[in-house]
């Protein structure tokens, strides 16, 4: 018997499930730089999402509508509670707030063009309202943010709705940081700050501190705008039942609820991935709050955070939302992370689909940058056309599903149209586990 034969077999190398390669890379990155990772985009970790739900199309017990023949309505009206001029949208898909500064001017223009062509609204962001954005958006929601960068009453009165941003799904409770390299002369002027310095966006409003104050703040905004336009309140998804209830109590016309898959221009990775609730988990508690207060459908609910397809739209609406908002998906529709820029993404040490250093201002697609040369890569007309197509496709997809479930309006989708593939999704969405009539938290059968 040789030594070779008596050698004890080695076990197969096993990667740690705790110290994974991405985690180890992050440890090495932190050790080398001494600072946490800052990035854009939204949560990348897998959490229960709309993909964990399925629709129950009609068979015998339900009667479907004929695709391409029978009408399935998609219009939605937001702000019917107090506003003299509610916002009427052709489709229940809106563009989420993204700032000029974080995004290039052509990108903002393209968002306006695309949204208008699809019959829906777009939204400003930190940094105020630009003439191009107002000019190209048939319906524009003006965000009233803690930073109040560029805030003035003239722009306030040009808006079709006002969205008081209390929180954001990617960073509920956190502020923002637009790094100095993205601060062009124009961005600096709009924010009343010197060029080239980091611009901190506060995490809380400077002149109110709680729901009672918020009620008075809303009164002020309504008095300034003659009670014409709806007041939205946007919250990050963390305590959706109570935040929704208090937003209603404060006088909101519309509650915008942004789950943890929502995007951001730049914040700490640890924040993006570890603070907040999955979008799926936010909807039913918020709807419950509206129902408990007797205002479901009177105070509209807009859900955002990782909405990608018509199926996502339909599922959010089936769970009780009145509309959805898309942010990251809209940027992808415009052309961000497009494979045609792969070689340039690789030069930045990343790859198509993974590029998230939006704060560095070097976006090869010219969308999340203020670099004049890169910005030229965005043709606002063509990018707007792409966005319009994307919004139309999502709407068609949602209509197809709704018809199959027997509904002649997307609003008629309901939780009974859904089942869940996983226990987690069943619990969060409060719909039965597939093949059963039970979900966690529901007593009996």
């Amino acid at each position: 018997m040789s030594d070779q034969d008596t050698k004890i077999p080695r076990t197969e190398p096993i990667q740690s499930a705790t110290f994974t390669n991405p985690i180890n890379a992050e440890i090495r990155r932190a050790a080398a730089t001494g600072i946490y990772d800052i990035r854009g985009g939204g949560a990348k970790r897998k959490v229960p999402h709309f993909d964990d739900l399925l629709f129950l199309g009609a068979s015998v017990s339900r009667y479907p509508l004929e695709g391409y023949r029978e009408k399935c309505e998609t219009k939605v009206t937001l702000g019917t509670r107090f506003a003299k001029k509610p916002i009427e949208l052709d489709i229940p898909i809106t563009i989420a707030g993204m700032s000029f500064g974080a995004l290039s001017g052509p990108a903002k223009e393209a968002l306006g063009r695309g949204a208008s062509a699809a019959g829906t609204s777009t939204t400003t962001g930190d940094g105020g309202m630009t003439p191009e954005e107002r000019g190209h958006s048939s319906k524009l929601v003006y965000q009233y943010l803690p930073s109040r960068y560029g805030m003035n009453p003239d722009d306030l009165r040009k808006a079709d709705a006002i969205e008081i941003v209390v929180g954001q799904g990617a960073k509920p409770g956190g502020g923002g940081m637009l790094l100095g390299q993205k601060i062009s002369d124009r961005v600096a002027h709009m924010r009343t700050l010197p060029k080239g310095i980091d611009q901190r966006s506060a995490c809380r409003h400077p002149d109110w501190t709680g729901p009672d104050d918020l009620e008075i703040k809303i009164l002020e905004l309504r008095e300034i705008t003659d009670w014409q336009v709806p007041i939205y309140i946007k919250v990050g998804g963390t305590r959706p039942y109570y935040d929704t209830a208090l937003a209603v109590k404060a006088g909101a016309d519309v509650v915008v609820l942004d789950g943890m898959q929502g995007g951001t221009a730049a914040t700490q990775d640890v924040f993006i991935e570890h603070v907040g609730l999955p979008t799926l988990a936010c909807i039913r508690p918020a709807v419950q709050a509206l129902q408990d207060l007797g205002v479901h459908r009177e105070v509209q609910l807009v859900v955002s955070g990782g909405i990608r397809t018509g199926a996502d739209v339909a599922k959010a609406m089936a769970l009780g939302a009145d509309a959805v908002a898309v942010g990251t998906a809209a940027l992808i529709a415009l052309g961000d992370n497009d494979p045609k820029w792969e070689s340039e993404y690789q030069k930045l040490g990343t790859t198509t689909g993974a590029y998230d250093d939006w704060h560095e201002g070097m976006d090869p697609a010219g969308i999340t940058t203020q670099d004049p040369e890169l910005m030229k890569r965005v043709d606002p007309v063509e990018a707007g056309r792409r966005l319009r197509n994307y919004l139309k496709v999502m709407t068609l997809e949602a209509q197809t599903i709704a018809r199959a479930c027997g509904h002649n309006h997307l609003h008629n989708l309901e939780p009974e149209d859904l089942c869940a593939l996983t226990m987690e999704a069943a619990a969060m969405a409060r719909v039965p586990l597939a093949g059963t009539d039970w979900y966690p938290g529901k007593a009996g059968f």
Partner: protein, 227 residues
Amino acid sequence: MQTYDLEANGLRGLNSTLQEQNGGTNKTAWEIVNAKGSHAIAVGLNSPIEVTVKGSTGYYCAGMNQQATVRVEGSVGPGVAENMMSGTVIVEGDASQYAGATGHGGLLVIKGNASSRCGISMKGIDIVVHGNIGHMCAFMAQAGNLVVLGDAGDALGDSCYEARFFVRGSVKSLGADCIEKEMRPEHIAILKDLLARAGADAKPEEFKRYGSARQLYNFDVDNAQAY
């Protein structure tokens, strides 16, 4: 002088009436009676009218003012002249929290004291406080001038940018990245003008100037303890 009875005719009527006055109006002087601490009095004005509020107000009096001169013959609640763009707001009494918050322009004069967070996130407004101010005033202040004839509370100018602070009395403490700065002739001139416009009986030479050390303008991990 036009008189508006707020109790009898309501807030909506008041603000819509005042907002309707344009540059050609001959109704340039207004007196509001029975204010009784109401919120959002005289907000969103945009013409060079003169409004006098007889009595004290609640939140956000003269919010987002443009061009108008609003005088409050009493004290004001939180957020007086918030996000003011231009014009003048004069408070004969004291002011609660967030006076002049996020103001982009114009002049806010407080004859009494101001509470905490006065001038928070100010972006070009000039604020003159005849009395004292509370803690965390001018937090994240970006531009404009805050003049205090009395004393300042804790953490003055924390995380400020390019705003200037002139304090005649004591400062309990300075916030992160806020330092005392040299009082140069141009600052004396700015202060002299502001004191005169605010009707303040004080000499510019009696004040000390504070502002940003500009050490935290760009993030540096070695400054982490300062954030």
